[in-house]
Amino acid sequence: MTPPPAPARQPDFQELRMTTAPSTVTATDLSLRYGGTHALDGVSLRLSRGVTGLLGPNGAGKTTLLRVLATAAPPDRGEFTVLGHDPGTAAGRLAVRRSLGYLPQTPGFHPDFTAFDFVDYVAILKELTDRGARRREVRRVLEAVDLSDVRGKRIKRLSGGMRQRVALAAALVGDPGFLVLDEPTVGLDPEQRMRFRELIAQAGEGRTVLLSTHQTEDVAMLCHRVVVLARGRVRFEGTPAELTARAAGRVWSSTERDPNALAGWRTGLGTFRNIGDPPKGADLLEPTLEDGYLLALDSESRTVTA
């Protein structure tokens, strides 16, 4: 017995504009195995300009997908294009890399470099030859990530949040058209996370950003599209509103944990928030993006997450 779904929130004009925008990144049937494990299992997706969130539990294949799209790891099978370039050829991969900014999950640095020198080094690696123009660009991105004051400090002397911003500056330098961010807000305090969200939102203006995250709040606040990945497969692709709408009529409150619920947890009010197929007469609650995300997962992935 499934209660009638609540009407989904109508996407606003901005969302409509974004979702109908032409694809800048397309992937078809991407697969990658490690031994007997399918890290990616036939992933197909399309990204357009703006910030797309990539949600999924640990081991879902998010980092692997990002590494493939960032040309750090070729797939076993499947094809993808980035801004019209096919990285399956040497020339295509070079063209993709010229349009790419990549922030890995745990960015590494030369610790004795200053923040400025490190971003300048990455700028050279991105073929910014002209010294004057390059230095202006480095100053611009360091200012964008609010690191101008510490640009002369060695990276080993910077806090974790500052290092993360150095890595973001390195990803942004050269104004790439495709930005790949792998859990950039992990380990940041709430204030730093908020600051990072501002930066990512700015970065998403006019370019394609793929943001991997565990935080549904990041997606709700930043993303015009969301992809849910679990066990190497795409479980959902659409707007955050559509993902939330999936949980409409499927979230209810109870005084005891409902054994029939797919997932449930005690809230701060002492009642249980359940998701799944509610019993007749259940006290339905307004769904959140997280509810929609949990429902998009298969049962095995959901157990891990919930």
Partner: protein
Amino acid sequence: MPLTPALLRSLVVPVWQSLPWRALAVAGGLGLLFAAAARLPEQGPGEDPGLFLLRLVALTGALGLAFLLDDPARNTTETTPLGRPLRAGLRVVLVAPLAVLWWTTALLLIPGPTRPPLGPVTLEAAAMAASALALATAAVRFTDAGEVGKATAVWLGITAAVAVLVPERWGLSAVPGEPWWEATQVRWAVVLGVTVAATALCTPEPLRRRSVKLGS
């Protein structure tokens, strides 16, 4: 944009700064100390102490070179247009003159009467250095690790230990005057050729699948 001299010039300073100077300095210093030991009144073991010490010097230098490709910023820079092979090549080019100078100094520290034939012992040193680079290049190629030096040094040490255990007749540790000395030099030349070829094969970034560590 093709690789221009201006781009190369821009790269030299940061690549120079990013070299693993501590490991190179420790290995270089130790190597010269071993070579200087030849000047002590009590000389090294064996009938040919100069050769023994120079082999020790060469192995120490190779252990230092095992760290040459260490790059803690690897994952932050791996998808840039100027890729890893170029940077690795530049590191080798920058260090090569220093290595030659260091080896020459080590040779000069060995007193003339105990100095072994320079050509063969230099061939051995080159082969050991190439082995270190081949192992490091393979470690970079087949793993995600940014700093492969420690593991490479361990493997190089194990390889050297195994090589010493091989009887001189078939191994790499014969001394001048022994009947299999020349055959040993041929084997060192083969080691050099194979390791240089392995380095060349492992250096390019593959367009198809390569091994990566499983992330999230």
